[in-house]
């Protein structure tokens, strides 16, 4: 079987100790929580940390606290399965519960955490390959190489943001808490991401994402739809997160955020703006969906053809909005159940 490279495992019990451990080992260290993404990547030598700082024993990073009125604080170490079935989250932030429940497979959701999924490495089918495979093709700039194999003339890496929860967090206007040697800071979820396949996080390497902070529910409606080949296992090759607040029948605020079509989640601002002040009629939804497809610019580096992923953006945005509007939605069984 594929073997892990050798590493030292450090198991802090507090965030403070974890920060200290990160500082002590510097660039040699990486954080690990559920390990569902990191360990396979290490087996393929995408990462070769000498030290892993395990967050599994940090109790203060687990759990969901708060209320619909004041908002919720979700510890980054909360597992995806716990989040997906948490009654308050299911009720007040259904898009988030749905996204958490659609990550990978049941076993991996039992191990994987919300923090891990928010920070999950960008993906590309020239990059998520074994060392021998990458060596045979000549490596790419994301690891060990110089060029981008998807867009050979490109000065940047086009690996794909593949988090299910990131676009939802962005669409909800959620924030994340980062704790580092200089203390703690809270930034909007959208500020966590950068449009670069390599430096895809604005988080400093010595910072730990300790919590996701949800705003007050406040009549917010949300939904998430995921395109992938199969009903389980697969990363998204298109994710659509929508979040809407209503004044009666009229849209007061709307955010549509696309996942897995760029190196970071991408907000469809024109489409969102087009909904504000209107009722969620089928016509308004179709117009918004049409506009939302604009920012979707997938490349040929995931499953499915990229023209297909582009075309599906409109369909999925329309369906997510229909769900929010309480209109009937067609789609796969898994999404209907989620």
């Amino acid at each position: 079987m594929m073997r892990l490279p050798p590493f030292t495992y450090v198991a802090p019990r507090t965030v403070r100790d974890a920060v200290a451990a990160l500082r002590e080992h510097g660039a040699d260290a990486m954080l690990v929580a559920g390990g569902t993404d990191l360990y396979p990547n290490m087996k393929r030598r995408q990462f070769e940390p000498k030290v892993l700082v395990g967050l599994g024993g940090v109790a203060e990073m687990r759990g969901v606290r708060g209320s619909a009125r004041d908002g919720f604080t979700i510890g980054a170490g909360t597992t995806l399965s716990a989040l997906a079935r948490h009654p308050d989250i299911v009720r007040h932030y259904p898009g988030l519960a749905t996204a958490a429940g659609l990550v990978s497979s049941p076993q991996l959701r039992n191990m994987g955490t919300i923090g891990g999924n928010l920070c999950v490495d960008t993906r590309c089918n020239y990059y998520n390959q074994s060392f021998a495979w990458r060596k045979a093709i000549g490596f790419c700039m994301k690891k060990d190489g110089e060029i981008c194999l998807v867009a050979p003339g490109s000065p940047r890496c086009w690996a794909v943001s593949s988090s299910d929860v990131a676009p939802v967090a962005w669409s909800l206007g959620a924030k994340v808490r980062l704790v580092g040697p200089a203390g703690e800071r809270v930034i909007p979820a959208e500020a966590l991401y950068r449009d670069d396949g390599i430096q895809y996080l604005a988080k400093q390497p010595n910072e730990i994402l300790t919590a996701l902070l949800l705003p007050p529910a406040d009549g917010r409606r949300s939904a998430y739809m995921k395109l992938r080949r199969r009903g389980s296992f697969d990363f998204p090759v298109l994710g659509v997160a929508v979040s809407v607040r209503m004044d009666g029948e009229t849209v007061r605020e709307a955010r549509i955020v696309l996942g897995a079509v760029a190196s970071q989640p991408r907000e469809a601002t024109k489409a969102s703006a087009a909904l504000v002040g209107r009722q969620l009629t089928p016509e308004a939804i179709d117009a918004a969906a049409e506009a939302a497809a604009g920012p979707s610019k997938p490349l040929d580096n995931t499953d499915f053809t990229h023209p297909y992923r582009k075309k599906m953006t409109r369909v999925f945005v329309a369906r997510a909005l229909r769900r929010i509007a309480g209109l009937p939605v067609s789609g796969r069984v898994e999404e209907e159940l989620a």
């Binding site: 594929m2 073997r3 390959q129 045979a136 093709i137 089928p282 499915f304 053809t305």
Partner: protein
């Protein structure tokens, strides 16, 4: 025996190895750990096509923890291959690599990590050659030769057979259709990755434990490849965690483990990674097909002409057989009076293709069954009725001289048509049934499709020519009342070990648990050729029945003497032997064995089986004959989302002519597994390449369906009691895969009017078809061209269509009374 007299046969018993599998007790090859064992790893080529100019292992050998490093120079310079006509492989390439993944060197070390690091320290100097990654490239560049042998530059095999005057038949038809289809390659994806442990002992004898479907062929080939006396080599097939044809060749890791063991004096284990399994491959050939068929207005076939081009990959493997199989099995299903088949297998710089479940036949089956659907539409016929009308006649010969015995296909069609409510649904769906339409733009449409198939129950000829049994057993009765059966058959999950317990238990009136099955050990067990071509239940089953009958006769003689009654009076049941009319005096089976042993000495009896000699008397007639053929009919109901073109399977009905279900539970398991695998091939699986490399060599990225994609499968078993099978049984492991693929394609057409003549049928292809349809264009997605390729002048043979089977069939090794 009539069916109601069976006690074991027909009962839904658990497999005998079920407890071990469920509790984790089963020891697979990778579970074996021997004292002082070293761990091996192969260095594989990073180039698709290159000359090797130098290999330097100095740095690897210097690494602490490395016990030994070998290259091709350390092995005898012999080329090998599973088929005598395709000896084109080396365990470790010496002069040239032909694909990314070709093995070049091997390391044995204290652990896998060290072995892997050592592989990275081996310096190979390559001189790259142009890579030929498609059939088009390979045919367009005869100046670049992947191999020096074959039927032309980069052409491994070129065959052409004609049975009767096809041109004349087509000219006299009311309708002639010409269609082109493509079937993408895909791989077996067994859960267990290949693994082997070799121990070249101090006494100079070699034992290899391996996850193989064919210990006998591995045994034969090891003696050649390693230049050791076969008498000093023992091959043990460990329980196989899925084979599907992927473990039917001798492999580099097996050979390297043996040689490394010899070099280091330690047992050596090599277990492949999932990525390596994709390179080892031997899976489904990508096949381009052109099929021209003539029909009468009533739907009868007048004649058929099929051309196939197989993308073989870098080596021969079973490819010559695969090439024939794309042509020879279709005529077994329907009345095809005259037939012409031309096939070519082309070498490319990709992992070699070979036998995958259905070996060479799912591709032409897809072509024929989709074409029949198109013809039925043009002729205004119901596709089920049309197929029902043209089902071949039992106990006749086909145009290409295959002898067919029982045929339950008509009944299979009737059963699935009825169970699926085909007659009501098909016309309704064709009009456009929108699912859950609440007037809000929902566009999900229902569709239903049918297809049929046939498959052989065991190849009629062995891989190497010989007159010996294809399967043999030795059965020994113990004084405890237990019975041991030794047989070379390999249980790859299909249940052959269980069959070897059920059949003697049936004959001897004991329970399967009383039978101790010792399979697949070349130094203990009589040869069985291997788990391929759906041959094992029939062939080892016939051998087991023969041996059990001989044992029964010996025991009966002794019991009859003791009870002072005639042998004919005796019954064997409930672990007793006695006169049914005087059952109180019946002798317990253990005591009966003691009586038998006292009379005859050791009670050990052989059983042997070889298929009836019925091969057509023309060159190439050896591929296709089988003792009997199974038949399947399948109906698929599905829903297509017109906006996303996602395909949701709602239900699959399959009726399978099993001859007789020795254990209906096992048969249903085989049928369901086949359907599941067929669904994957139909909808998503694809072994495809980019920049000379496999695009997705991992379980995550190579898309294969999960249980969520698997619909309810309604299995209907049809029993025809075939005279050639053990208690009438035919195969179940491969045939049921075949019809589900075209049935899905036909159902999609029924749903949305789009013809995707190309496997896999993915949402983007269907969406493209829907766009074409909206534009008023022909809504067909599929290949547009066929290669400019010159097939051989055909070997012209008279059609044997409709002739009765030969009055006298030669059945080697059969007892006179059985």
């Amino acid at each position: 025996m009539t069916k109601d007299r069976f006690t074991i046969v027909g009962r839904p018993l658990p497999k005998i190895d079920a407890w071990g599998k469920v509790t984790g007790d089963t020891k697979y090859a990778d579970d074996l750990v021997l004292p002082r064992m070293a761990y091996g790893k192969l260095l594989r080529s990073a180039h698709a096509h290159a000359r090797i100019t130098a290999i330097d292992t100095t740095r690897a050998r210097a690494l602490a923890g490395v016990y030994g490093v070998i290259t091709g120079a350390d092995l005898p310079r012999v080329k090998f291959g599973i088929l005598p006509v395709s000896q084109d492989e080396e365990a470790l390439c010496v002069d040239k690599v032909r694909m990314v993944g070709d093995a070049i060197a091997a390391v044995a070390a204290v652990d896998e990590e060290t072995a892997e690091r050592a592989c990275e320290l081996i310096d190979v100097t390559y001189e790259p050659l142009p890579s030929l990654m498609s059939m088009e490239d390979a045919l367009a560049h005869p100046e670049v030769r992947i191999h020096e042998y074959g039927d032309g530059p980069n052409v491994h095999k070129n065959v052409s057979l004609q049975f009767g005057d096809v041109d004349a038949a087509l000219a006299a038809s009311h309708l002639v259709r010409e269609d082109v289809f493509y079937f993408e390659g895909n791989t077996h994806l067994p859960m267990e990755q290949h693994a082997a442990v070799a121990q070249w002992a101090a006494d100079g004898r070699l034992t290899l434990w391996s996850s193989t479907q064919t210990p006998h062929y591995v045994h034969r080939l090891l003696t050649k490849i390693l230049d050791v006396p076969g008498a000093h080599v023992r091959v043990i097939a460990t329980p196989v965690g899925g084979g599907f044809g992927g473990k039917l060749d001798p492999f580099a890791h097996e050979i390297a483990a043996c040689q490394l063991s010899k070099l280091t004096g330690r047992p050596v284990k090599i277990a492949l990674t999932r990525e390596e399994v994709f390179y080892v491959h031997r899976g489904r050939h990508p096949v381009l097909m052109w099929i021209k068929t003539g029909f009468t207005n009533d739907g009868d076939i007048t004649g058929c002409h099929l051309k196939t081009w197989l993308d073989g990959g870098a080596y021969g493997s079973y490819g010559v057989a695969s090439t024939f199989y794309t042509g020879v099995i279709n005529p077994v299903t329907y009345k095809i009076p005259v037939y012409k088949f031309e096939g070519a297998r082309v070498f490319t710089n990709k992992p070699p293709c070979g036998p995958k479940r259905g070996h060479g036949t799912p591709q032409p089956r897809f072509a024929l069954e989709c074409q029949l659907d198109k013809a039925a539409e043009q002729l205004g016929l119901d596709p089920a009725d049309m197929r029902r009308r043209i089902v071949a006649d039992p106990f006749t010969k086909t145009a290409n001289h295959l002898t067919v015995t029982t045929i339950g296909l008509g009944e299979c069609i009737d059963k699935v048509v009825e169970a699926s409510q085909w007659r009501a649904k098909r016309p309704a769906f064709a009009k456009g049934v929108v699912v859950g339409d609440r007037g809000l733009g929902e566009r999900r449409r229902k569709g239903i499709g049918i297809a049929c198939s046939a498959y052989m129950t065991g190849a009629g000829t062995a891989i190497y020519w010989n007159n010996m049994p294809h399967s043999g057993v030795v059965l020994r009765a113990d004084r405890s009342g237990g019975v041991a059966i030794l047989c070379g058959a390999t249980d790859i999950g299909q249940g052959s070990d269980s069959i070897l317990a059920y059949l003697p238990a049936e004959v001897l009136g004991i329970e399967p648990k009383d039978v101790h099955v010792h399979p697949a050990d070349t130094s203990l067990t009589p040869v069985d050729l291997g788990s391929y071509s759906s041959r094992v239940t029939l062939m080892c089953g016939m051998a087991a029945i023969q041996a059990a009958t001989r044992l029964r006769r010996a025991i009966a003689e002794a019991v009859a003497k003791k009870l002072e009654i005639s042998v004919d009076r005796l019954a064997f049941r409930d672990r007793k032997v006695g006169d049914p009319d005087d059952w109180e005096k019946a002798v317990p089976f253990a005591q009966a064995v003691e009586l038998g042993e006292a009379m005859h000495g050791v009670l050990a009896f052989p059983g042997a089986y070889a298929p009836p000699k019925r091969a057509g008397k023309y060159k190439g007639g050896g591929v296709g004959p089988s003792p009997c053929y199974s038949y399947s009919a399948c109906v698929v109901e599905l829903t297509v989302d017109e906006e996303t073109a996602e395909i949701h399977l709602d239900d699959v009905w399959i009726a399978h002519d099993i001859g007789r279900a020795l254990n209906p539970l096992l048969v249903e398991g085989q049928v369901e597994g086949s359907i599941y695998m067929g669904i994957g091939e139909a909808l998503m699986e694809a072994q495809v390449f980019r920049h000379d490399l496999h695009k997705a060599p991992s379980l995550l990225d190579y898309k294969s369906p999960t249980t969520l994609e698997t619909p309810p499968i309604h299995t209907i078993l049809v029993e025809t009691d075939d005279p050639e099978g053990p208690f009438g049984a035919k195969e179940a492991g491969q045939g049921p895969l075949l019809p589900v693929i075209p049935a899905i394609a036909n159902a999609i057409y029924n749903a949305v009017g789009v013809r995707v003549d190309e496997i896999p049928i993915t949402p983007d292809k269907v969406l493209k078809g829907l766009d074409l349809k909206r534009q008023g264009k022909s809504a067909r997605i599929g290949p547009e061209r066929i290669p400019l390729f010159k097939f051989k002048e055909p070997l012209v043979v008279e059609s044997a269509f409709g002739q009765p089977l030969d009055a006298i069939a030669v059945r080697p090794f059969a007892d006179a009374q059985s």
